[in-house]
Every structure is written in structure tokens, then in C-alpha cells.
């Protein structure tokens, strides 16, 4: 804190001439006059000094003047040592008063430019926006300065810091100041040390790249401070990076869970190889799309609530189609798993094509409700709201399903039928109905998955295809017939995938993972949480 105050004082003393509040137009009219006088001399060095004076002046049209200079529209009446400029509309104005001059003097010449003048003008323009009344613009320009690290911007930057009242904007300005000061080889050592400290505390990737740019021949004390600052930032970044990857892993795991959990019912509990599972997910996503279209056209004000309608509807649509598939096809194929696989694959082709002919082959736009867009930051961790909601949604589905299987009559009947079909049947359970409803439940949950995935993935007829193999691997990896296995399977595959990615890249990481799972299944053909005993032996 003390350091900060000292810094501010230092800057303040530097800015004796232009002290005050730069945003206020009448702050330093004498700067404007002095600047113009310098420019009127039309020597490069004087022009540059003049530019800074104008920038410092805070005159409302100072930006227009500097811009005009840069574009060769700043004109001098050499005879009278007066400065004019032609505005973008073509009218000639007096540089001091900014009034339109009806009859400009005859022999006006443009102020001469060279590269030094031009870059000074650019810097001054950047600096001028540092004092823009809009805080967002100020932050933007501060970040621009941080990137360019133009030493010419330093005086204005210092003025801006002194004037700044909003703490978050000031922070950005100071960071920009630090970046410039640090890179300026002729800046005093203590200032540069100060800059290193500021950059270190900021701890961002940009800060690291600024620190990295230090020439190797710099004097030892600064170099050492820089190196230690880099190490400290990188350690912190790496830590946050791990946290971020773990979050990505949880996020991917929840997506896998959500896609696979319906399959854990149809495949895991019923033993039906449903290759059309992915298409149930896709149908859920398209249901979301249709619901949203309806809201867009009929009740745009309620758009944020569209998901509340889409969720139950997707469940019903996918579940209903699931029941139809079970009654129409799968029922005839019980006990023939490989045939079931083929028939459901056929169904998946039909569903894909049906959607393709209805909605077209291209991606459809599914909107994200206001409350689900954007992200929150915890330290260096960026968590997007939609991902967070999906994690929560996946958790809710998982818990809901667990409870449903344990406490509802359907759950009881389901377990009875899967454990001993004949016994269940002779006890009066209508096994056919239970089969259909169980399959409908699994499919309906796939539909829910579709609602969630529509928020993060492209809604296209191929949506389901991209999840089917992963889903099967999750269920098999976790252990068939065990919801907890599916949970652990999904999270560990998601985590492994995201932790591999930084080292191997996305595609290679995925390949490594696939191969690893193939080997794992060979080692433990029944998955992580295998049911053991006589009953499962074929």
C-alpha cells in the first residue's frame, strides 16, 4: 500500500504541468496553446513535444487534433504561426478554438511527418483513450498499452493513473504502466523493480510474457528479481491450471455421465444393446430446439424459461419413442444381444435420417438462457455457468434415478424382473410392461441428456453418434448393472481425458484413453465394479 502511494506521489510530481483532472476539458488550456505553438514551428522534435502537450491538455477536441496530425490534416499558416485542421467532414477549423473557419488562409501547409512523429501520434491517441469517460474503454486502452508497451504512452499513463478513481480500472492502468516501465531500458532501476513487483502480483500470462521480454544483458539485480517473479507466477499459474483441468475433467465427466446414464439403465440393467441411444439424446436436443423456436416466436419475453418446458418434454418425447422401439422391435429380440445391436443400429439410422429430412442436415441454433451464459472466476479458475449447470443437472439426474430405482414401484418391479423374470411374472408383475417402461425411462433420460448437451454442443443429426461409443465405454468400464460404476466410470474417463490433453493434445489424448480402456476391459471384462458370482456366468 505504501509503495502504491509513493508511486502515485512520484507520478504526481512528474505531472506538475498537467496536474488536475484530465477528463475535465478546461483543465490546462495553456498546454493546448503551448502545444500548438510548438507544432507551428514545424520541426519534428517540437511537433512531438507538442503532441504530448495537446494530449495532456484535456481539450475536448485534442483527440481530433492528434488524429488530424496523423492523417496529414493538421495545417499550418506559416505566415501567422497559426494552426488549423481539416475535420473528417472536410471543414477547416481553428486548432485552438475548434471553431469552423469560413475563409481559411490561402497558404496552408500540412504539418510534416516522419515515423517518430507518427508513432508519437499513435501513442498519444492510445493515451487519450486512457482518459475516455467510459471505464470499459479505459480498461481496453490500458490493455492495449500493456500489449504495445510503447514508452511514449508513459506520461499520459501516469496522468491517467493519478486521475483514476475506479479501483479496477486503476489496477489495469498500473499494470500497463508496469509493463511499459519494465520494458523501458532507460527507466530508473527502482521504478523497474516496482514494475516487476506489480507484474508479479498481477500473476497473469500477459505479465509473464512481459517479464520474459527482458533482454539478457540487463543488470543483475533486475534480472534476478524478474526471474524470481516469473517462477512465482508460473507456479501459481500451474496450480490454477491443474485446478482448471480438474474442473474441465469434472465437466466432461458430467457430460459423459449424463450421456451414459440412460444407457446404464437400458444396457446395464436390462442388457439391451441400444445403439439408438445416441439418437435419443439427439431427439432431446431437437426437442429443446423446437421448444425454443416456439418461445422465440410466441413469447420471446419468457425465453429464459424455455428449458423448464424443454426438460419434461424431451423426457416424454425420447421416452415415448423408446417405449415404441421396445414394443415394436426389441421385444422380439430378447436373448439375442447381437441381433438387438444390429436392429437398434438400424433404428438409429432411421431416426437420424428422419431428423435430417425434417430439420435439415446443418447445425441448429439452440440459445442459452441469460442465467446460464457467462462465467465466474475464482482466482485463476474460470467456470462457465452452463458447464456448472450441467454438472448440477447430471448430479440431480443421477440422484433422482438412484432414488427412483430404490423407492418407486417401477423401480421395485424393474429390479424384480431383471433378477428373476419368471418369478416376477408368476408374482403378477406384467413383465412386458415393466420392460417397456424401463426402456422408456432409459430413453427418457437420454432425452434429458439431449437438453443438457444442446447447451454445449452442436445440435445436428449426428449429435448422438459422437456420444454412443463413449457412453458404451463408460458403462462397460464402470461395470454393467451398477449406477455407481457408471458415475465413477464417467468421472474417471472425463478426468483422465482432460488431464491427458495438455500433454498429448486432444485427439492423441482421446486415442490413448480408448486404447487404455480397451486394455482395461481385457484385464477386467466385467468393469470396475463387477457383479461377482454364479449368476453372471454365461
Amino acid at each position: 500500500m505504501g509503495r502504491l502511494i509513493r508511486l502515485l506521489l512520484l507520478m504526481g510530481s512528474l505531472l506538475v504541468a498537467g496536474a488536475g483532472a484530465p477528463q475535465q476539458a478546461a483543465a490546462a488550456p495553456e498546454d493546448l496553446a503551448a502545444g500548438l505553438a510548438l507544432i507551428a514551428k514545424d520541426s519534428f522534435n517540437d511537433t512531438i513535444t507538442g503532441i504530448y502537450a495537446i494530449a495532456r491538455s484535456g481539450a475536448p477536441h485534442s483527440a481530433a487534433l492528434v488524429e488530424a496530425l496523423h492523417d496529414r490534416r493538421l495545417l499550418i499558416d506559416t505566415a501567422n504561426q497559426k494552426v488549423f485542421y481539416r475535420d473528417t467532414a472536410g471543414a477547416v477549423r481553428d486548432a485552438q478554438s475548434n471553431d469552423v473557419v469560413a475563409t481559411p488562409p490561402a497558404n496552408l501547409t500540412a504539418v510534416r511527418l516522419n515515423n517518430r512523429v507518427r508513432s508519437a501520434a499513435s501513442a498519444a491517441l492510445g493515451a487519450l483513450s486512457l482518459m475516455n469517460p467510459d471505464p470499459a474503454r479505459r480498461i481496453q486502452s490500458a490493455q492495449a498499452v500493456m500489449k504495445s508497451r510503447d514508452p511514449a504512452a508513459l506520461p499520459v499513463l501516469e496522468a491517467a493513473i493519478a486521475a483514476e478513481k475506479l479501483p479496477n480500472v486503476r489496477k489495469e492502468l498500473q499494470l500497463a504502466w508496469a509493463a511499459v516501465t519494465f520494458s523501458k531500458s532507460d527507466a530508473p532501476l527502482d521504478k523497474r523493480q516496482e514494475a516487476v513487483a506489480l507484474l508479479r502480483d498481477a500473476g497473469t500470462r500477459d505479465a509473464v510474457s512481459v517479464l520474459r521480454s527482458l533482454p539478457a544483458d540487463t543488470a543483475a539485480p533486475l534480472r534476478e528479481a524478474t526471474t524470481s517473479a516469473i517462477t512465482s507466477i508460473e507456479q501459481r499459474l500451474a496450480l490454477w491450471g491443474y485446478a482448471q483441468n480438474i474442473w474441465y475433467g469434472i465437466s466432461l465427466g458430467s457430460v459423459l455421465l449424463i450421456a451414459a446414464i440412460g444407457l446404464a439403465i437400458t444396457f446395464g440393467v436390462m442388457g439391451v444393446i441400444n445403439m439408438a441411444h445416441g439418437e435419443m439424446v439427439m431427439l432431446g436436443a431437437y426437442t429443446t430446439f423446437v421448444v425454443q423456436e416456439f418461445f422465440r416466436t410466441s413469447a420471446p419475453g419468457l425465453f429464459d424459461y424455455s428449458l423448464a418446458v424443454a426438460i419434461p418434454l424431451a423426457f416424454l418425447v425420447a421416452g415415448g419413442i423408446g417405449v415404441a422401439i421396445e414394443r415394436g422391435v426389441i421385444r422380439h429380440l430378447y436373448g439375442r444381444p447381437l441381433e438387438t445391436l444390429l436392429a437398434t443400429w438400424g433404428i438409429s439410422l432411421i431416426l437420424q435420417q428422419a431428423v435430417r429430412t425434417t430439420f435439415g442436415p446443418t447445425n441448429r441454433e439452440v440459445g442459452t438462457p441469460q442465467f446460464m451464459s457467462g462465467a465466474m472466476e475464482i482466482g485463476g479458475l474460470v467456470i462457465t455457468w452452463n458447464r456448472l449447470y450441467i454438472v448440477i443437472f447430471a448430479g440431480l439426474i443421477f440422484v433422482g434415478l438412484l432414488l427412483a430405482l430404490r423407492y418407486t414401484p417401477l423401480g421395485l418391479h424393474m429390479r424384480a424382473v431383471t433378477q428373476n423374470r419368471r418369478m416376477a411374472s408368476s408374482m403378477g408383475i406384467r413383465t412386458g410392461r415393466v420392460d417397456a417402461l424401463t426402456f422408456g425411462l432409459g430413453s427418457g433420460i437420454a432425452g434429458l441428456a439431449g437438453v443438457a448437451l444442446s447447451q454445449i454442443d452442436n445440435v445436428s443429426p449426428n449429435l448422438g453418434q459422437s456420444y454412443i461409443i463413449d457412453s458404451f465405454l463408460v458403462v462397460v468400464f464402470g461395470g454393467v448393472g451398477n449406477l455407481w460404476g457408471t458415475l465413477v466410470g464417467a468421472l474417471s474417463i472425463g478426468m483422465a481425458n482432460k488431464l491427458l490433453e495438455p500433454y498429448a493434445g486432444a485427439v492423441l489424448g482421446k486415442i490413448i484413453l480408448l486404447v487404455a480402456i480397451i486394455f482395461f476391459i481385457q484385464k477386467r471384462p466385467r468393469g470396475l465394479f463387477a457383479l461377482k458370482g454364479r449368476a453372471v456366468e454365461a
Binding site: 444393446i273 445403439m275 422391435v329 422380439h332 429380440l333 439375442r336 444381444p337 447381437l338 441381433e339 438387438t340 445391436l341 444390429l342 436392429a343 443400429w345 438400424g346 433404428i347 438409429s348 439410422l349 432411421i350 437420424q352 435420417q353 428422419a354 435430417r356 429430412t357 453418434q465 461409443i469 458404451f472 465405454l473 462397460v476 485427439v507 492423441l508 482421446k510 486415442i511 480408448l514 486404447v515 480402456i517 480397451i518 486394455f519 476391459i521 481385457q522 484385464k523 471384462p525 454365461a538
Partner: protein, 381 residues
């Protein structure tokens, strides 16, 4: 001699070989010797198409050997096909020599484009035809052997096996899509010029490739037939029907499965190798899991466990595909294919040939021995 011994009891086989070998002679003749003006002339496009069908027939045959006779439903046979195709493609790429766009004497165009300086080690040797042809068989064979050895030893069976074979071809697809794998990324290998010194595009070469495909299919049939007719073939069927019983009789099921899986993969590889010069390209989309599943439906349509039926199914389904994917029916092809999957599994579980066998057997019970006249849940032959 052996052929005759094999076929004495195989009437379908005789017909099958007669037709395939007949095609090997007649189709090239109709293409080369009959003038284009004649209605009997076979155009280049048709020739290529027919050649493609024969390669698919061989692929289906190879799948039938493992699925129909040993109960291994591989959803990754497309991978072996594609690997054979890539081995052939690599040979054809090396034959381009300096005629590529960049005219590099050694590196294929895509490597020059990627700024590679030298040939990766796994491309060595592919300039030799014999080496490449060996690899056509060795690469799929070795992969199948290693994969099968681990999977069958751990007793991964049924749908679990199907799922991991699917994961295998999926992983390979992702791998081959990568540019730095050195197989041309998603463009694959194409722009071939010569095969064994003959221009790939020339009519005579195409005719020869067609004949080669037909001969390969006939040989594939004979090999498969020899296997299923042997005592080993009977063990395979035993494994299919009652795996653990077979174990308790003292047969090492994993050895048998690995053997037949490897043989089948080699056949699929050869099919892929013949396919590539005829269609002129090989790219990673051949690894798509959907492709491999489609092969299964060819076999199912023709009749699993009938060998000739598998080949028939491949030709029929692909003929339907070519017919329906062009013209106004094109948007409905996937509906038809999907319906085919559903209907065949429910209504025609034995496929065309299996159902025909049953029908004949019922028509002429007296003619045949008792064993042949009766139907059982799953046909052995």
C-alpha cells in the same frame, strides 16, 4: 485336388466359384474386347463398381468366417480392410515418384506440403511391391493377432467384444485423421499413378484388377471353406454354440478364436488392398465405425454362416446402395438401410441363403441325408 475334395459336398460352393471365376473372365472381356457401342460393353465406371462389390464381398466373407462360424461379432472389421488398403496405398504413393505436384523424388506430396524432410521409418520398404503386399496381410493380421490374443485370453465375449472392436476402429480413425501420423491426414492417400508398372487408370489395368479381385474372392472362399469344413471348423462352431462346453472338452478356445480372427483379418486386409487401386483413394473415413457395422448387415442379409451368402449379401446391399443413393430416392436410402437392419434381424434371421437352404431342405427331405434336412436354431453350414 484339394479344391475338388472340398467341394464334393458343397453344391452352393461350386455355383459360387463358377460364377465368380466366370465373372473374372467375362467382365474384363466385355470391357476390353467389346466395342463401347455394343449394348454388352461394360464401361469403366461399371467395371470399377463391380470390382468394388467383389472387394466388399471378400470383406463380408471374412466377417462371416468369424461371426457366422465362431460367434465373434466384430464391429471393427472395417479397420482391417482399411489397414490393408493403406498398405496398398503406401505402395501406390511410392510409385508416383517425381510425378507428384511437388515432384519430390522420395516424399509423397502431403509430406512435402507438411514440410517433412525425410520419409518416416514405417514408410520404408513400401516402394517394393512384394514388401507392400506382405504388409497388406501382415499389418491387419498382426493387429488382429495381438488384439485377439489379449481379448480372447481375457474371455471378452459377446457384446463386450463387439464394443471394444468398435472402440478399436474408432481409435484408429482418430489416429489416421491426424496429420502427424504420416498417412496424409483426412485427405488420405490418392492420385495414384502406377501399379506394378502399369498405369492405374488404364482400361487393361482396371480389367486385371477386377479379375484379381474375383480370383481373390474365389481363393478367400476356398480358404474359408477349407477352414469350416475341417475339424477345426467344427470346433469353431462348437465354440459359437457352447463356448464353455468346448473348454471343458479340453480345447483352448482362445487359440482357436485368435487363429480364425487373424485369418479373417488378413482376408479383410487383402480385400482392402484390392479396393484401393480400383477406387483410387484411401482415407480415414474407411475406419468409421458405421462402415464396419454396415458390413455386418451385408452378412446378415445374405445369411450368416453360409460364406457364399455373405458375399451375395455384400453385392446385393451395395447394389441397392448405388441404385438408391443416386437419383430422387437418395434422401431415403438411410431409411431403407435402417429398415433393412430391423427387418432382417426380426424376420429373416438366417438371411437369404439360410432361408433358402431351409426351404429346399423342407421341399426335398428324402433326397438328402437326415442331418441336412432338418433345421436347427443356428445353421452350421
Amino acid at each position: 485336388m484339394i479344391t475338388r475334395a472340398l467341394l464334393t459336398d458343397d453344391r452352393t460352393g461350386k455355383w459360387f466359384l463358377a460364377i465368380v471365376l466366370g465373372l473374372a473372365v467375362v467382365v474384363p472381356l466385355l470391357h476390353l474386347a467389346v466395342p463401347p457401342s455394343s449394348p454388352f460393353h461394360i464401361s469403366t465406371a461399371t467395371l470399377a463398381l463391380l470390382g468394388k462389390y467383389l472387394c466388399f464381398a471378400l470383406l463380408a466373407l471374412s466377417l462371416d468366417l468369424v461371426w457366422g462360424y465362431c460367434g465373434i461379432l466384430s464391429l471393427g472389421h472395417g479397420a482391417f480392410f482399411a489397414l490393408g488398403g493403406y498398405a496398398m496405398g503406401m505402395y501406390l504413393m511410392r510409385q508416383i515418384g517425381t510425378r507428384g505436384v511437388y515432384a519430390h523424388p522420395v516424399l509423397p506430396d502431403f509430406m512435402v506440403f507438411l514440410n517433412w524432410k525425410e520419409l518416416p521409418w514405417y514408410w520404408y520398404g513400401f516402394e517394393n511391391a512384394w514388401f507392400a503386399f506382405l504388409m497388406v496381410m501382415a499389418v491387419p493380421g498382426l493387429l488382429a493377432f495381438v488384439f485377439g490374443w489379449f481379448a480372447f485370453r481375457s474371455r471378452v465375449t459377446g457384446v463386450y467384444l463387439s464394443i471394444i472392436t468398435q472402440a478399436l476402429t474408432y481409435a484408429l480413425m482418430l489416429a489416421f485423421f491426424r496429420n502427424d501420423m504420416g498417412f496424409g491426414g483426412n485427405n488420405g492417400l490418392t492420385d495414384f499413378k502406377d501399379i506394378l508398372g502399369f498405369p492405374v487408370q488404364a482400361n487393361a489395368t482396371r480389367a486385371a484388377l477386377f479379375a484379381a479381385s474375383a480370383v481373390a474372392l474365389a481363393l478367400g472362399y476356398l480358404v474359408a471353406r477349407a477352414i469350416v469344413a475341417s475339424r477345426l471348423g467344427k470346433v469353431l462352431v462348437s465354440i459359437r454354440d457352447a463356448e464353455s462346453r468346448t473348454r471343458f472338452l479340453g480345447y483352448r478356445v482362445e487359440h482357436y478364436k485368435t487363429f480364425v480372427f487373424t485369418v479373417s483379418a488378413i482376408m479383410a486386409g487383402i480385400a482392402g488392398a484390392l479396393y484401393v487401386p480400383q477406387v483410387g483413394i484411401i482415407n480415414p473415413s474407411e475406419f468409421t465405425p458405421a462402415n464396419s457395422i454396415e458390413v455386418v448387415i451385408w452378412v446378415a442379409v445374405g445369411g450368416r454362416g453360409t460364406l457364399a451368402g455373405a458375399a451375395l449379401g455384400a453385392v446385393l446391399v451395395n447394389f441397392a446402395k448405388t441404385t438408391f443413393t443416386t437419383g430422387f430416392l437418395a434422401p431415403y436410402w438411410l431409411f431403407m438401410l435402417g429398415a433393412l437392419f430391423v427387418l432382417v434381424t426380426i424376420w429373416l434371421p438366417k438371411g437369404i441363403l439360410g432361408t433358402l437352404y431351409d426351404f429346399w431342405a423342407r421341399r426335398r427331405p428324402a433326397e438328402k441325408s437326415a442331418a441336412k434336412s432338418e433345421t436347427v436354431p443356428q445353421p452350421a453350414e
